[in-house]
Subunit: 228 residues, 2 copies
Amino acid sequence: MTKAYEGHDCLYVAVDCIIFGFDGTEIKALLVKRALEPGNGMWSLMGGFVGANESVGNAASRVLENLTGLDNVYMEQLYCFGDVNRDEAERVVSIAYFALINLDNYKEALLKKHQAGWFSLNQIPTMIFDHKEMIALSLERLRQKAIAYPIGFELLPAKFTMQQLQALYEAVYNTHFDKRNFTKKILSLNLLNRLTEKEKATSRKGSFLYMFDKKKYKQLKKQGIKLL
Amino acid sequence: MTKAYEGHDCLYVAVDCIIFGFDGTEIKALLVKRALEPGNGMWSLMGGFVGANESVGNAASRVLENLTGLDNVYMEQLYCFGDVNRDEAERVVSIAYFALINLDNYKEALLKKHQAGWFSLNQIPTMIFDHKEMIALSLERLRQKAIAYPIGFELLPAKFTMQQLQALYEAVYNTHFDKRNFTKKILSLNLLNRLTEKEKATSRKGSFLYMFDKKKYKQLKKQGIKLL
DNA sequence: ACAAAAGTGTTCACTGTACACCCATGT
DNA sequence: ACATGGGTGTACAGTGAACACTTTTGT
């Protein structure tokens, strides 16, 4: 029974992670300097091979934790890239995942070890193989995702101001929203709890801090929620 | 350079095709009786292994054509299923594709050869491995797809009545739409050309036939189209 | 004449969008 | 007192949803 499929080809299967963060102004992607041939030293997504005894999803989590030190990160499968010659050296099928993390939570030390860096989406350097294509596709997915899922859960600190939230959506869609309309719509969803606490660092008056209410989100999700 | 990744595991990679058709009343899926162990004789999606020298997408097209005799079929990648034990016999990573075809175009003879059959979505039999999960996911994708893409292009004959089109959308979303509102919305998109010809088989008065205008669709697509 | 399906408009509620001024506070 | 960013409401247009009668023609 262990040779059921003998005669068929077997292929290397890899995962590559597109990791997005938000620095308060821009969406950034986390890239690493590749540490093996071919393409040693080139910019690349964080990736790795899927082992015979781990699921593809677990491999992606492992790779992500390896780089950032974070587990329990929001991650979803993006697409399987399967062209014959996408990897110059050998036939490798890669399943791309995209992840959203809070920029402040990652472990600096690990990033240094991997020679990693955060790049603005309009300043992505030349990348190995089809990795640039992966990033482009994941940006589309992020935009689509943000319509129905409050990506602020992952990309913002636990307590945030309305202005930070708006800046996040403006960065994702590369546009500007009217402050009054944005506030109105977001608050009408009842997803946010306003704290009594205020953020005083950026203005004299101080601005209210909010937190996401995950319970309310779970309720709303069932009904089909639309944030934007 | 051909042993760049020696030491890493290599895995069987398969494709499985979820093939949807529309019979005028219901959306149906095309299933086959599996012809190899394990699970010989059980209902299954049409699938096959990805060869070392073909892309994953090409493998999916090959498998689909093998079953239906059709090429140039609408097909898109759905999801990569990569659990360790999803296939009982060996480690196989499967990339699922979903395809839309016109029920009338497929080659009967090929279906018989593969012992294939069309199944209503609420009468899917017990299936091998995770294939039922694949179908469930593809139905979600179909519903999402139908919002922004005129699936009638693929699922209806070239000439069709407004009523057939409405029946298609009602089948996809398992609901009922108001005839006047449906017609109004669809026609407002300017995607359809009304022919002078009428369909006289189903009523005394006869109903107009329409055709999709692919050029108009291409224009609209760029602006972001919403059908429903 | 009648049966059977086709075709067609209006009203209303709601949602999205444009738009500008006062508020609180630290200096 | 004033400069800085924070917070808030209204009016209008466009979209989605409910709703029923007339038309055509084969029998």
